[in-house]
């Protein structure tokens, strides 16, 4: 009988307890952190790192690993728990304090000033001075060279940040941490922006640093890389720690099972889908971003009328770029996208809406809603020029009011009145306003990007039910979600994206198992060409 997930965790915890007290560079005990919107990011998490090891912190987005490290680096404070650095109890209220104790963090989005040189970025805030008044630039350069050579992180001190490739930028970030005295390095998804070649180089450097006694915490979800250079792995899921394991002693499949899985399966009641012909056809989409990384590789699929097609995958594997191609002015390097046989690439949002596309954006407060405007004003933003809402030059206020009231009622938006400002509503209700507008526009295709992220259970259930209702009525729905429950239960068919490619297509999701999903999402498995081509319906 296979040990349950919890059983596995317990086994490994035992093993750790039995090891003699190795010098722990970092020890976090019982960390609990709850965000203001009520979401528990970390729940009673234990996390410890031995001095001189490369330790991986793994988990899907939302698992809590970034939050845990933010707490360690002083960017956030935990409600409960203790932190020990090199045996000393600490409480960091700012990154400054963490840096002072020898912790350095390399963020996923670089904190570098583009027009300054490498050397200048290195010494920002700790500038060496000449005659008390001027920067000793030569000293800054020699400092950079010194650290660069010592740790074999080759950078040109005189190069401008804007001109150097991403891989070099990362080296600068690492050097920045080292020059400020870091002995413990936290790297947040360092390979997300690197090409394969750059990743190899990075690993060489990390191993060198390890040899020199540095402790490295490596946040990632990329299984192969973790297997390659880390000593131990801590896996997080749903805000909890799933235990720590020796890298050598655990298989990729086992990691995948621990990482990707649902503790509670929230099924969505729905009738079987009866999809007809395709409403959206995406063919051979290729896109390389401005830093030279190819984010979409020959992506081809169709969304059919009457179905919900989900795009699953860990964030950062091309899903956002794909959605951008569909609804913004962003153009791919090659490929076609057609809505009902009309090319839509590069078309403006007003045209796209006229053609019948509705869009629920990931960033709802920037693109989906106008916070300082009223609910009513938000609801009519895509249709206020229509004849039925205008009487000559003036608005037909009664028609608009009726429309707003109807939508507020139908979508169960909890508000005092339609004249209430959207910013005063709860997150779930704001999203319901966005959804109300987008769904009621009589679309042919709905693109929903993280539609229920960060909102309450009631609103979530409602929105999902609506999506099913609409798809059964003949609309095609493209759902992008990092929430495993959502993507597996809500989608009728689903595509898994990994590294910019489609690695799996499942026409029927009802018998899909969590661990299978995990393996595709983490790049362990890939379907055959033929199976993937199944996604291209006519």
């Amino acid at each position: 009988m296979e040990r349950s997930v919890w059983g596995q965790k317990a086994l490994y915890q035992e093993k750790i307890m039995q090891t003699p007290e190795a010098a722990n560079a970092v020890e976090m005990r019982g960390i609990t952190m709850i965000y203001p919107n009520g979401i528990t990011a970390n729940q009673n998490v234990d996390f410890s790192v031995r001095t001189g090891e490369i330790h991986a912190l793994m988990g899907e987005n939302g698992a809590g690993k970034s939050t845990l490290m933010k707490i360690l680096f002083g960017l956030e404070q935990a409600e409960e728990g203790e932190i020990f650095v090199n045996g000393e109890k600490v409480r960091f209220t700012s990154p400054h304090a963490a840096i002072a104790k020898g912790i350095g963090m390399v963020h996923q989005h670089f904190m570098l000033v583009p027009s300054l040189t490498v050397a200048e970025n290195m010494v920002l805030g700790i500038e060496p001075k000449k005659a008390g008044l001027f920067i000793d630039y030569a000293k800054a350069v020699s400092l950079t060279k010194e650290y660069s050579e010592k740790y074999n992180l080759v950078v040109d001190p005189h190069a401008k940040i804007a001109d150097i490739p991403v891989g070099v930028k990362q080296k600068v970030e690492i050097l920045k941490a080292l020059v400020r005295g870091a002995k413990i390095l936290i790297l947040d998804e360092p390979t997300a922006v690197l090409t394969t070649q750059e990743t190899e180089e990075l690993f060489k450097q990390l191993l060198l640093l390890k040899d020199q006694g540095f402790t490295i915490i490596f946040i990632s979800h990329k299984l192969k890389e973790i297997k390659q250079i880390t000593d131990r792995i801590t896996i997080m899921r749903g805000g909890k720690s799933m235990g720590v394991h020796e890298t050598a002693g655990i298989t990729e499949q086992e990691i995948s099972r621990l990482m990707v899985g649902r503790d509670v399966i929230l099924s969505v009641k729905k009738d079987a889908a009866q999809p007809t012909h395709a409403v959206l056809k995406v063919r051979d989409l290729n896109y390389t971003n401005e830093w030279g990384k190819q984010m979409l590789k020959n992506v081809s699929f169709s969304v059919r009328r009457g179905e919900i097609l989900g795009i699953a995958g860990v964030e950062g594997n091309g899903q956002s770029e794909l959605v951008e191609m569909l609804f913004t002015f962003e153009q791919p390097n090659s490929g076609q996208v057609q809505l009902n046989d009309t090319d839509i690439l590069g078309k403006g949002q007003d045209e796209l809406r006229k053609l019948g596309i509705s869009y629920i954006p990931e960033d709802r407060m920037v693109y989906g809603a106008a916070a300082a405007a009223t609910i009513e004003e938000n609801l009519i933003s895509d249709r206020f020029t229509q004849k039925k809402f205008n009487k000559g030059p003036l608005f037909n206020t009664i028609a608009i009011q009726q429309e707003s009231d109807r939508l507020i009622k139908e979508y169960q938006v909890l508000a005092h009145s339609r004249k209430q400002r959207v910013q005063m509503l709860s997150g779930g209700n704001i999203q319901k306003v966005v959804v109300a507008r987008e769904f009621s526009a009589s679309p042919q295709l709905i693109i929903a990007d993280q539609p229920t992220r960060g909102i309450d259970v009631g609103a979530t259930e409602f929105i999902r039910k609506k999506m099913v209702e609409l798809s059964r009525g003949g609309i095609g729905v493209l759902l992008v979600s990092a929430d495993l429950n959502e993507i597996m239960e809500l989608s009728d068919s689903l595509i898994v994206m990994y590294n910019g490619e489609i690695v799996a297509y499942f026409e029927d999701t009802s018998s899909l198992a969590d661990f299978e999903m995990g393996e595709y999402m983490l790049g362990l498995k890939k379907q055959s060409e033929e199976e993937i081509r199944g996604a291209m319906h006519e």
């Binding site: 904190m111 570098l112 000033v113 920002l124 001027f134 030279g292």
Partner: protein, 319 residues
Amino acid sequence: MLQQILSSVFSTDFLASVFRITAPILFAALASAVSERAGVANIGLEGIMMISALSGVLFSAWSQSAFVGVLGAALMGALIGLMMGFFYLKLGTDIILAGIAVNMLGGGGTIFFLYLFTGEKGNSASIPSKMLPTVDIPILKNIPVLGALSGQSILTYVAFLCVILVFILFYKTPLGLKIRAVGENRNAADSVGLSVNRVSYIALAISGILAGLGGAYMSMYYSMGFNANMVAGRGFIALAAQAMGRGEPLGTMLSSMLFGAADALRNNMEGTGLPSQLVSTIPYVITIIGLSLYTASTMNKAKRARKNRALREKKGDAV
């Protein structure tokens, strides 16, 4: 008539007047550059110049020393800069609105305070303010074109010197590095523990000092004493000069000189029978045209850069 204009343009006198007219614009443009690089737009330059012009007059009259006058003007400029910072950073007033308020203050407030201190309303002719000394450079002044460099007021030289000083500030001092970092990537500055607020205050103070010097220039050399309409939009022209100069000291100097030359041309054409009012519009029209051409070209450059990168990828070049 064209010949008349051309012959007067290519003369030492004309060149000298270009320097003279550029100087106050240059001061204000450099002021704008410093604050802009730090990420705080200072559009209250017009107001600061007016207030400092009055301050220079008052301080010099009171102390009977031009030097004290200039010092007082610079000090007032710094104080106003700091005040703008206070309203923006502490009280949350939009920095643009704060700039507009300063301009308003400069407009009516100067007349008010002039009256308060001198009993006059239109100008300060009644009080014995000092003028800035001019500097004659012995041999230089006799050489044809270079002679323009001699006989300028001391602040004219200071203005062009400030180009170098601002350059040194930006690129050779720790403060300048901090200013550039804060203005370009606030997060990067935060992440190394820089106090963005402190840097903003300092940048606004420096900006105020430079604009203050520009104001002192107007009332203590360009004109004799203070009068109500003396700054005439130079503070705004400086904004355009700064935009065209991209916040770089050298570029700022060149675009300031462009507008200075346009203004000098206007003075030159006054004798030629072309209507003076229309000629007066030349500097402003050139500003609009210059600004548009410049921003159009940068927009195109960015588009071209992106296209090039995409093309390179297609060709398979290693990135």
